[in-house]
Symmetry: C2
Subunit: 398 residues, 2 copies
């Protein structure tokens, strides 16, 4: 199965993306729809930030039933820290789409991303909904992906096709997010859709399986959004037979690859990012310890500025490893940077640093830390900290 970085038509779904005038940028798409022809099996995960946006509160509740018919997502305003008025706006927004589609209100979820603390204009929104419903089409995923962008430089889409339960099944997805990204869960907004027939409990389990190695394994700046939302919808239009245990494992593997590729695209387009770095920690006593060390490295501003400077700065890596609070035997520690072993047996390989610096000039490389204390491992995808990260975030005003 090959994951492609492009959309694919997917039976049972229609998409749209229009300009509703919710942001101060004439002509920029800011309202997107995902609509199914009937209520479809759905699972979702949401931010664990204690400050949750109104649409997250509404969506989290509605998704519990296991079926949805539509998603309405806007950029320009996150509808977060907007109190009762914000909750009403989230409800009214979903209702606007439900009324237009003629479906139950509870089958529609609202998603928002953008500036925190402000409402958007409901009349503009309603007019946008009408225009978007008119524009719905099966091959419009890219329009949707564009409508939810904020500081993203391009829309992110993935798709893959596999044979499952006697049918050809497609999984596609899109996501937005370039800053305020550290998992648990991250991404701000991500959507995975499939035409496979699969029941809500299996869908939920698949989503849980997929998270640790995809959206929860990425970081741009260690900051966790208030609006993080990941929704997975399965239309069943592929007409596969009911999936058995083996089929489900196959589906989860495919979903892992698709979600991983999408998550990777988010980091690659991280605010100001010039490098995509895969941080792998091996040889830990437990997976939790491996993850703690990987997160400290992946989030350290000093390590990330060194990536930007193509500086094989072992000292900062060692500092970040030690900061995790996990017992470390320095005499056993091994560190490979961009494929070059730069430290082992308690010594820095000074003579290897020039070669590592050269390899770090590439757009993508890996950093592998072997603690040699056990068999557990963890992986994080991160990017560098550049002048442009500061520029984007010092100038992107409220």
């Amino acid at each position: 199965m090959k994951v492609r970085l492009e959309p694919a038509p997917i039976r049972g779904f229609r998409f749209a993306g229009v300009c509703a005038g919710l942001r101060n940028e004439p002509g920029r798409k800011d309202l997107g729809l995902i609509v199914t022809d009937w209520p479809v099996a759905t699972a979702g995960v949401f931010t664990s930030n204690r400050v949750k946006a109104a649409p997250v509160i509404v969506s989290r509740e509605r998704i519990k039933r296991g079926h949805l018919q539509a998603v309405a997502a806007n950029s320009g305003s996150a509808n977060c820290f907007t109190g009762k008025a914000g909750l009403k706006l989230a409800h009214d927004s979903a209702k606007a789409l439900a009324d237009e589609l003629g479906c139950e209100h509870e089958l529609v979820v609202p998603c928002s991303t953008g500036v925190i603390g402000r409402l958007y204009d409901l009349e503009h929104y309603r007019a946008g909904i009408r225009a978007a419903v008119d524009a719905l089409a099966p091959d419009n995923l890219e329009q949707y992906a564009r409508a939810i962008m904020t500081t993203d430089t391009h829309p992110k889409m993935v798709s893959a096709t596999l044979r499952l339960g006697g049918a050809l099944v497609t999984i596609a997805g899109c996501a937005k997010g370039a800053g305020m990204i550290e998992p648990k869960m991250a991404t701000m907004l991500a959507y995975l859709v499939t035409d496979a027939a699969i029941r809500p409990p299996a869908l939920r389990r698949a989503l849980t399986e997929v998270l640790p190695t995809s959206f929860n394994a990425i970081t741009v700046d260690g900051d966790m959004s208030t609006n993080d939302t990941l929704i997975l919808m399965a239309s069943g239009a592929a007409g596969n037979r009911p999936l058995d245990a083996r089929d489900l494992v196959k589906f989860e593997r495919a979903l892992t690859d698709v979600a991983g590729a999408l998550a990777r695209e988010l980091v690659r387009d991280g605010e100001g990012a010039t490098k995509l770095v895969t941080v792998e920690v091996r040889g830990a006593r437990t997976a939790a310890e491996a993850e703690r060390v990987a997160r400290q490295i992946a989030n350290s501003p000093l390590v990330k500025t060194a990536f930007f400077g193509c500086d094989p700065n072992f000292g900062r890596i060692a500092m970040a490893i030690g900061k995790a609070g996990v017992p470390i035997d320095l005499d056993r520690l091994e560190v490979d940077l961009a494929g070059i072993k730069i430290a082992s047996h308690g010594a820095l390989h000074v003579e290897a640093l020039d070669a590592a610096a050269l390899k770090m000039k590439e757009r993508e490389f890996s950093l592998t830390v072997n603690l040699k204390a056990g068999k557990a491992k963890a992986q994080m995808m991160t990017c560098d900290f550049s002048f442009d990260y500061v520029k984007i975030n010092a100038e992107y005003t409220t």
Copy 2:
């Protein structure tokens, strides 16, 4: 009692700072000494990073006895991740000074700061020790402060005088550190000296009292050094009578002010810093929860870039508050930025943002968050994240 940002002569101590040629910068001071005429009461705290530098391992052990006669601190090399050779180098370095002074080896502690993973040249070091011993003088604290600088733009010194136990007592201090700074404990290297007569157990307790509001309440980049060291020495030369409980409280208060001022200077000179921001979290249920929220705000790259851009970005502040995992009642939350209330009663005060943005142009301001859930509070001093932070750390090579 007034804390001055300058050194003061302090009885019982002599200082020196010389160029020993340990760094590749001809003429730059890189070796500093603090020497007392007899073994004096001493307390110290060290990094909690699991990767500890060799001099930290040696100093931590030696300081347990409660008395020291000298500190030898070098910049240019951190002598960290240097294995057995590094431990031997730390021992030999202290021995070089002890031999020159004619004192017990165990009464001298080594401190190092600079590049991780490399040794420095012992012969250069020994020659430097001889030159530094010749240069020892009571009014040379500034030379010492200069010798330990790395990316600091200027030496940081403080002093204060108070009447204590029937005598006039002086407390002075110096510190270095501009990056890789987040407490627990931070600062990389800091030294407090006093001519008060005070016994080691009281000295240790005073240091513990002082930490939470000084060196453990600052952050530049959330990164914790492998070499953090804070040493407090009391020569007793002031000739005060033995301190009673009330005197000790008075001493601790004075030490708190001195240490706080010194810690503040570190943040003010944070790598690339253009702003000094005091983050205060009030109304928390517990001090630990208040601290957790304050740290999330003070370390958030998005909040720090907004400080740099003079952007009263409430959304990022709300995000950072929520990320701390502490239960938050959004309807009660109050946020004051640079003295302007920007949020309360569950609503953002949009009309106040321009005034806040204007006030943020100042070199120093505060951010106060009231959770209104209890009476506990915590404070952190932080700086902004600027282009220069990235520049300094992308270009400062191993």
